[in-house]
């Protein structure tokens, strides 16, 4: 029986189930398949805090949302068009986001008395009519997979675990996606256990066939390829892109990469990924804590490596003192903060932008550090590359801010041409030209000091955390020298402004409202700007890549707008910097809920303001 195909520009689909139901995997498979198909897309994994909650509980619900589209999109979407709920708890948690009329696919077998009670349902919502306003597809998935796996030598528990692939099969049918890439994936993942490959493949097929044959679905959807710029693409998460960016910087500059860090959600994957690239000569060191992580990186930088440390909020807090040492020692160093919900342990698996001030000021004394922020998962590559380049060129620590949303979210990423990447090199000091070596004699252009690494004959010298004498680098307690050096450090950072190109403004270059953003808020703000411009509003969107120093043309841009709106996922940080610097009465949008803004929320705030 053939069904109608309805053409769609974009679809938002959300998979939700128990932590044990494999929703992250399911979402990722759908993502990869759609990426390979050629859609533009953006994802939002949303897993529970680190502890595994009891099966079936509200706390244990894990979800993965993605938007895929035939057009250029910037966010994982505001509300889902399709919600897959694998159990009552998932339904309970996520139903409120599904607009009336939305598609709702559930695993009927999971709606047992016990699970219903666990989720806080008095009645079975599949039966009490409370879901009447949605397009409900209640499927006995567990039963189905039991049938499809008949004859295989597997425990009932393992059989039941395949039901996410059944659900995936249904979705693949609905959106007309090929099964092949997923089958190949299964073969690779479970290669050593062919019975698992078979069971999951059967479940996947069963789901697809169910869509095809069951009477219940009346429509299928077509979401065409997006018109992406030509090139070769792959799908990357932000953390992966960060790793590739760092590795690329090391390869291009021919400086060995060293990573010192300590596991923490959501930054750990950076360590995991880099540790797997030993054949690139990359050295990773899982230290005993975050302090040792950055300390080892500082040591590696002193010894001539491209040194990196990464962590998240609380771990970055621990690095503050050592960051000060990197500042005064003027050594290249990249510090990645994959921001998460704070304060304290806060919301470890949720996203937030609340560590901007910590990046600016989280250490003693006047200790300026340049800060760059990535704007999309794929952009983490460029941001990491640029952070490395600036660190080396200017001999300075650089903080790279990403966040949980960027780190775990993914998007199709156009693979850059190796040759297109700006080259840079270590420029290690090789000899002292006969004169006595001056470790704090600076390059006129960059104000960088020489990088003379241990092992180099005749450049033996000593540095340290006490104030240094200008030029010689000797310890100095001289009052005037201290002022000179304080100013020098400030100017060295400010000087990086030279490197920052003119700031592009999307939309109008002047008018009623400028939306000013940094970091992961980019996508939602850009979508909002598109909507507002479609409504013929006189607005612009300006996104900051470097937060410190601020671009030199920003002041001129700001004064061309009557209003300035700064949405941040924090209680007001960039806004304070902008107000202090430009004395403009910018307004903030500050909803601190551990999740990205929807474009709609920014549209709403913009309209309120104008």
């Amino acid at each position: 029986m053939s069904k109608n195909f309805e053409q769609k520009d974009r679809v938002v689909i959300r998979f939700a189930g128990d932590s044990g139901d494999g929703m992250q995997l399911t979402g990722t498979r759908f993502t990869e398949t759609s990426a390979l198909f050629g859609n533009d897309l953006a994802t939002l994994p949303d897993f529970p805090a680190e502890i595994r909650a009891p099966a079936g509980s509200l706390a244990g619900v894990s979800a993965f949302q993605l938007q895929f589209s035939s057009q250029d999109i910037h966010t994982p979407g505001d509300e889902p068009d399709v919600l897959i709920a694998m159990n009552p708890a998932a339904l309970k948690v996520h139903l409120e986001d599904l607009p009336k009329g939305g598609y709702l696919i559930v695993n009927e077998n999971a709606f047992t008395k016990k699970n219903l009670k666990f989720a806080g349902y008095e009645e079975n919502p599949l039966e009490d009519g409370s879901l009447d306003s949605y397009s409900l597809f209640s499927i006995k998935m567990s039963e189905m997979v039991k049938h499809s796996c008949e004859g295989l030598d597997l425990t009932p528990k393992l059989v039941d675990r395949t039901k996410n692939f059944f659900a995936l099969g249904v979705c693949f049918w609905m959106f007309d996606r090929p099964l092949d890439p997923t089958i190949k994936f299964l073969e690779k993942k479970f290669g050593k256990r062919p019975e698992l490959v078979e069971a999951n493949t059967k479940a996947l097929n069963a789901g697809f066939n169910y869509g095809e044959t069951a009477e219940i679905f009346t429509t299928r959807f077509k979401v065409d390829k997006a018109e992406l710029p030509p090139g070769k693409y792959r799908n990357v998460t932000g953390n992966l892109a960060t790793c590739i960016g760092l590795a690329a910087a090391a390869e291009k500059s021919d400086i060995p990469l060293f990573y010192g860090g300590y596991p923490i959600t959501p930054a750990s994957d950076i360590l995991h990924q880099l540790a797997a690239w030993r054949n690139f000569g990359i050295k990773t060191f899982q230290a005993e804590d975050e302090i040792a992580g950055i300390a080892s990186a500082i040591g590696a930088a002193f010894a001539g490596n491209l040194a990196v440390t990464a962590s998240s909020g609380p771990g970055i807090a621990l690095k503050g003192e050592a960051l000060g040492l990197a500042v005064i020692a003027e050594l290249p160093l990249v510090i990645v903060n994959v921001q998460r919900g704070g304060p304290s342990t806060g919301l470890p698996t949720k996203t937030e932008q609340s560590d901007l001030f910590q990046a600016m000021y989280g250490r003693n004394g006047d200790a300026p550090i340049p800060i760059i922020a990535a704007q999309t998962p794929g952009d983490c590559f460029y941001a990491a590359y640029e952070a490395s380049m600036i660190a080396v060129k200017y001999r300075t620590p650089v903080i790279l801010l990403t966040d949980g949303y960027l780190a775990n979210g993914s998007e199709p990423w156009k693979i850059p041409d190796v040759d297109s990447l700006e080259t840079f090199s270590a420029n290690y000091m090789k000899n002292s030209n006969g004169d006595s070596f001056q470790p704090y004699e600076r390059d006129k252009e960059t104000l960088a000091r020489p990088w003379a690494i241990p092992g180099t004959p005749e450049l033996e010298h000593r540095i340290g955390g006490l104030e240094k004498e200008d030029i010689t680098g000797n310890v100095s307690y001289d009052p005037v020298n201290h002022h000179t050096m304080t100013v020098m450090r400030a100017e060295k950072t400010a000087n990086i402004v030279k490197h920052i190109p003119d700031t592009p403004v999307y939309g109008e270059s002047g008018g009623d409202l400028l939306i000013l953003t940094w970091g992961g808020t980019y996508g939602a703000a850009r979508s909002a700007a598109e909507t507002l411009l479609d409504d013929s509003m006189k607005i612009g969107h300006c996104h900051l890549r470097w937060v410190n120093p601020l671009p030199k043309d920003l002041g001129e841009i700001l004064i061309k707008f009557k209003n300035i709106l700064i949405p941040e996922i924090n209680y007001g940080q960039l806004i304070k910097m902008i107000r202090a610097e430009y004395l403009v009465d910018a307004k903030g949008l500050n909803l601190v809920r551990g999740r990205p803004y929807s474009a709609g929320e920014i549209v709403h705030a913009a309209k309120e303001l104008v």
Partner: protein
């Protein structure tokens, strides 16, 4: 000890003396340690640009400024962690940490024990003066219980660490102790550290004549020294006293001091074996124990692969197996597709 790279010109103490004025209190034990280090290093026959001194904060941590090698006077307690990065970045370097009882055992205690268990090929010189010198005289984690200091006007309440015991507990592969005033012994211990493949921990009893004068006089002054110090030598019986008239004996598994004479002969005396962990633990337990002489010398020394060495092996192995990584293939890894 990384692979030795011999260098032609003969070095002298002067080669290791920097142009910075030394700024310790007159009479400080640190001077002697500096002098012996500067004298011993030329004997290694190693290119001097390969030496790196990393220190934290404390009087002792000023040390790198005075050595004409690469040096980094870092932050309090983190020298061992920073040194780990230096060594991993370039395992060909000979990396030395100079730290104090506060720097290395109080704020930096964790990095110190982790460095040991990892057997990172780094040499730790711990200047133990049982006091915080630089901050003007608070008690340290090696100060004796009941010590009256600036921060404990009525006496301290903490039982001190026993550094060799702690190092053994942390699985260090080389644990030794020496004294600032014993120039020859100090030199030989520094040499032993240099020669040991893997991490070394050398505790140096150092007199702070300003805030804790005489802490180790029992072991350095003529009248008490002979009876109070047990000079350890591998394979030799553990004897001490002006005439070597005393010895250590095991009574069952309990150590005791015996006097050579009618009842005991040198044959009854326990022989030192640097590779015996239980023996080393026993020796460590003599520390500041009035019933026993103070063990000085190498308590423990065993061979084990070092972390840095294994890291290089792992890189080499991976490169051999997977081929040297290419940026292009890294960029193009995973599922890719082409948009025309």
């Amino acid at each position: 000890m990384a692979e030795e790279q011999k260098t032609a010109p003969v070095q002298t103490r002067k080669d290791y003396t920097s142009d910075q004025g030394v700024r310790w209190c007159p009479g400080c034990g640190d001077y002697a340690i500096l002098a012996q280090t500067q004298k011993t290093f030329p004997t290694f026959g190693r290119k001097k640009e390969d030496f790196v001194f990393i220190s934290g904060i404390g009087c002792s941590s000023r040390f790198p400024y005075y050595m004409d090698t690469y040096g980094f006077h870092t932050i309090h307690g983190r020298a061992t962690a920073i040194a780990s990065g230096v060594k991993l970045a370039n395992p060909d370097l000979s990396v030395w940490v100079v730290t104090g009882d506060g720097d290395g055992l109080s704020i930096g205690g964790n990095h110190t024990i982790h460095l040991m268990r990892r057997n990172m090929d780094i040499n730790i010189l711990l200047f133990n003066n049982r006091i915080y010198g630089l901050t003007k005289g608070q008690y340290s984690p090696t100060s004796e219980l009941g010590k009256v200091t600036k921060s404990t006007p009525m006496g301290s309440l903490d039982r001190p660490f026993n550094p060799p015991a702690l190092a053994l507990g942390a699985d260090s592969t080389f644990v030794a102790r020496t004294l600032d005033r014993e120039t020859k012994h100090l030199q030989s211990m520094i040499s032993r550290c240099y020669e040991h493949k893997g991490g070394t921990f050398l505790e140096i009893y150092q007199n702070c004549n300003i805030f804790n004068d005489g802490a180790f006089f029992k072991y350095t002054e003529k009248d008490t020294k002979a009876q109070s110090v047990l000079w350890l030598e591998n394979g030799q019986p553990m004897m001490f006293g002006a005439e070597k008239e005393f010895g250590i004996r095991l009574n069952g598994n309990v150590p005791e001091v015996i006097e050579i004479g009618d009842k005991w002969t040198p044959d009854d005396v326990l022989v030192h074996d640097e590779t015996d962990f239980v023996l080393a633990s026993m020796l460590a337990s003599f520390t500041s124990n009035d019933d026993f002489p103070e063990p000085i010398g190498v308590l423990y020394s065993v061979d084990a692969p070092s972390y840095d060495e294994m890291l290089i092996d792992q890189i080499d192995g991976a490169t051999e197996k997977m081929g040297k990584g290419e940026l292009d293939s890294l960029l193009n890894a995973g599922d890719t597709w082409v948009v025309e």
